[in-house]
């Protein structure tokens, strides 16, 4: 493929009130390449991307697309220029079929009264899916498809708009390992046809697998661009963060104490089957498994968010009856949910309110909140977790992903839980914040807190856990100690049953 530049941006700058998001960023993207854009949260990747997609307008600088200067005025304009963007949270109508979603807004019409030609929609959609090499029933409503299939639908949508520059924002954050492989296959296939990708991700492992070149942004500036083959992870992280990170997974050596939480024969009809395990003081217990294995569901049962149909939960040697999150909290269990925006935070409210939400009753006498005490407590939390914020009153929606997650942690730390359940705590968070959270986990473990860690990133589970439990289909199907666990063993255990069934 000729080394043609499909897109060049020169000296792009963009500011928001009080914040300079991009300063004189210049980049060039070659046709047919997969160009990765990496950087910490707040580095400017999302801003640059949205400028290209027409969602924001640049303050200054030029965009040169296929050799001609353009002003991208709106998302529709960007689409007409052949630029498509696939956001982390998809833009799909859940109740409509995949085919309908692909052609939404541009439905082909039949000659009969200009009605929508559903047959053509289905046929054309099927054709695109075949081109992608993905096997989906395009007539099924999108909400029945899994995340990976929904993503394929978004890619198909982009293709149907004749986009030849596709921007993908954190495409793999919700995918299982096998599904990532399928996505990469699709990307390579499209690459061969001349489609260019801008790939934004925090997952450096994947970035190194799929990209041809990597550009690093930091604090709104381009730090450097280079061919992937000429870079290594340490170098990229150094460029992103401005310093070397010695250890992504700082797991301190902790003396593991006696049993803290015992789960005995826990079942929830249709979801969890006869699960038993013990968590010890100071222990980090990792739970691995494929998407849909029942890990989050199990934790929700333990936390009282969902009802148990049978089984017992014991804390510190005493049986506890947990029927609601309040009961779990009273027993000393905290839960950081996997979707911080939907389940963990009050986005429209101030940081102070978020951070004090669980501990509030102890800050109040006869219902009246002691403001002084609250402010003091929140200050201490901000300091302890090093949350970067403009103040306690800042609306949480305006914080970066990493800082938002820290607010959720602060909320739980305030009650000094005995057991802390973390469900995918570092998803969609930049490297610096990830390490900070891992360090905190180690700190809590050292203080005797029992930690349960669910993560879809196997390196994280392997790097942080003292013991790993593997789940599949709502039951435990394997257990490994830190010493004996390897990537392959855990993956095999997680996929074991499924592979056998599919082979039949």
């Amino acid at each position: 493929m000729a080394e043609e530049i499909i897109l060049e941006v020169r000296n792009i700058s963009k500011s928001f009130p009080g914040v300079r998001a991009l300063s004189n960023v210049s980049l060039s993207i070659k046709r047919g390449e997969v160009h990765a854009l990496v950087g910490e949260n707040g580095a400017g990747k999302s801003t640059l991307m949205k400028i290209l997609a027409g969602a924001y307008t640049k303050d200054s600088g030029e965009i040169i697309l296929r050799g001609k200067p353009v002003e991208i005025e709106s998302p529709a304009h960007a689409q007409s220029l052949g630029i498509a963007i696939i956001y982390q949270e998809f833009n799909l109508a859940p109740h409509l079929s995949a085919a309908a979603n692909i052609f939404i807004g541009r439905e082909p019409r039949s000659k009969f009264f200009n009605f929508i030609d559903n047959r053509r929609i289905r046929q054309d959609a099927q054709a695109i899916m075949s081109e992608l090499g993905v096997d989906i029933d395009v007539s099924r409503p999108v909400r029945d498809l899994n995340v990976a299939q929904q993503q394929s639908t978004e890619i198909a949508k982009a293709l149907s708009m004749n986009a030849d520059l596709i921007i993908m924002d954190e495409p793999t954050s919700a995918l299982a390992e096998a599904e990532v492989a399928v996505l990469f296959d699709v990307i390579r296939r499209l690459k061969a046809k001349g489609i260019t990708f801008i790939y934004i991700s925090h997952n450096l492992e994947e970035v190194f697998q799929i990209s041809d070149r990597i550009s690093v942004l930091r604090d709104g500036q381009l730090i450097g661009t280079n061919e992937t083959a000429k870079l290594d992870a340490r170098e990229v992280v150094r460029m992103m963060v401005g310093r070397t990170l010695d250890d992504m997974f700082p797991k301190p050596k902790v003396d593991i104490g006696g049993p803290l939480l015992e789960v005995k024969n826990l079942s929830r009809r249709g979801v969890i089957r006869d699960v038993s395990f013990t968590l010890h003081r100071g222990e980090i217990l990792g739970i691995a498994g494929l998407l849909g294995a029942g890990r989050t569901e199990l934790m929700r049962c333990i936390f009282g968010a969902d009802r148990i149909t049978s089984g017992e939960i014991w804390m510190e040697g005493k049986r506890v009856d947990i029927r609601s999150p309040r009961d779990a909290i009273a027993a000393g269990i905290g839960f950081v949910p996997e979707d911080r925006k939907q389940q963990g935070l009050f986005l429209s409210l101030a940081m102070r309110i978020n951070a004090s939400a669980v501990i509030l009753p102890t800050l109040a006498r006869w219902g009246l909140i002691n403001r002084q005490q609250e402010k003091k407590l929140v200050s201490e939390s901000i300091a302890a977790l090093q949350i970067k914020t403009a103040g306690q009153e800042q609306i949480v929606r305006d914080l970066s992903g990493g800082n938002q997650q820290k607010v959720v942690l602060a909320k739980w730390l305030a009650i000094k839980p005995k057991v802390l359940i973390l469900d995918d705590p570092t998803r969609g968070i930049d490297v610096g914040a990830k390490v900070a959270i891992h360090t905190l986990m180690g700190e809590f473990a050292r203080q005797g807190v029992g930690i349960i860690l669910i993560s879809s990133e196997l390196p994280e589970v392997l790097g942080m856990s003292d013991r790993i439990i593997v789940m599949d289909e709502g039951a435990i199907c394997g257990e490994f100690s830190r010493e004996e666990a390897t990537h392959e063993k855990v993956m095999l255990a997680a996929a074991g049953n499924r592979a056998q069934r599919e082979a039949v």
């Binding site: 389940q343 986005l347 429209s348 219902g367």
Partner: protein, 340 residues
């Protein structure tokens, strides 16, 4: 993280947080605007200014006393409505509760029960209807719109059943004092309103329950997962609304010296309008008692303007409807600009 813009010259001269020189008019204005209610307060003051120019009767003691006494009943109910709307709910039954509890109190008074006992039963009933609203929403899971639409009809119907269409009267002098009396130059209803507002404000802004209302409105899922007893708090909000509606009912029938089944008809619109104008978003998660007070005052002034300007009664409903549409539209636009 990205750099903050530095303000030129900020080291040399004193400026307020918004970059203005202190003491200037625009700095004062910006400070007021810094308060959430600042915007609506300015609009309200402007409206009063305009009206005082247009009509010589507006700024008279008589007129203003009337206006405040009028909107006090709306404001009292709006305290409850504010709490409900903060949770992203709604209560359409408040007008009917006013009618129903008013008729019950009236009936008991005429039947010879003491003033205190009659009022007590009325308040109890209002609270009970509110509790029923809350229960339908919390235990059965009915959408607030539907649940309160139902009680709206039921309560109004019961009022008709009690009165069979006839007005209930007369009431003892002692009772009438509540609606028609004065303490000094200020009507009694205004005192009751102030009492309810102050209690409402403390409840909403200083107690855990009030805090939880905002949390539930912002994200009910996160609220539950943070250990908040969402059911209990929602129940409380609707129950309180029923209670304050009954308070307004007592004031109303004392003022009119009679109780009729159609008392309070359409009041839910005024109350909701006052709440939304005051900055409480129908989407939930924000709103204050102070804002609601300004909203109620605004509605009162608008109604007063229509009367002073001799606008036909029929057009008045049109205007009020337009005001509601405008208020909610502004709310929607505000929410949209935040979502960027």
């Amino acid at each position: 993280m990205a750099q903050k813009l530095s303000k030129p010259g900020s080291e040399n001269s004193e400026r307020t947080d918004t970059g203005e020189r202190p003491g200037s008019l625009s700095s004062a204005a910006k400070n007021i605007l810094a308060f959430k209610e600042g915007g609506i307060l300015i609009v309200f003051l402007l409206a009063c200014l305009v009206l005082s120019i247009v009509s010589p009767y507006f700024l008279t003691v008589d007129n203003l006393t009337n206006v405040v006494r009028q909107f006090s009943m709306t404001a009292i109910i709006a305290v409850g409505m504010t709490m409900v709307i903060i949770t992203a709910g709604i209560d359409l039954s408040v007008g009917s509760i006013v009618g129903f509890t008013g008729c019950v109190v009236g009936w008991m008074l005429v039947d010879g029960y003491t003033v205190w006992f009659s009022i007590f039963i009325g308040l109890l009933l209002g609270t009970l209807v509110g509790f029923i609203n809350g229960s339908l929403i919390v235990w059965i899971g009915l959408p607030p719109f539907i649940a309160t639409l139902g009680t709206m009809g039921i309560a109004r119907g019961l009022a008709l059943v009690i009165t069979r269409g006839y007005p209930i009267q007369p009431f003892p002098e002692d009772f009438l004092y509540i609606g028609q009396g004065y303490i000094g130059p200020i009507p009694v209803p205004v005192f009751i309103m102030l009492g309810v507002l102050i209690l409402g404000h403390i409840f909403l802004s200083r107690t855990t329950y009030g805090r939880y209302l905002y949390c539930i409105g912002s994200n009910p899922t996160a609220a539950r997962l943070s250990g908040i007893n969402v059911r209990k708090i929602l129940l409380m909000a609707y129950t309180i609304t029923g209670f304050v509606s009954a308070i307004s009912a007592v004031i109303l029938i004392a003022r009119l010296s009679s109780a009729q089944a159609d008392n309070g008809t359409g009041w839910e619109l005024d109350v909701i309008a006052a709440t939304v104008i005051g900055g409480t978003s129908l989407a939930g998660g924000e709103g204050t008692i102070v804002g609601t007070l300004i909203g109620a005052a605004m509605m009162g002034v608008i109604r007063n303007a229509l009367v002073l300007l001799r606008v036909s009664v029929y057009w008045q409903t049109v205007v009020i409807g337009l005001v509601i549409v405008a208020a909610v539209s502004l709310d929607v636009l505000r929410q949209r600009s935040k979502a960027i």
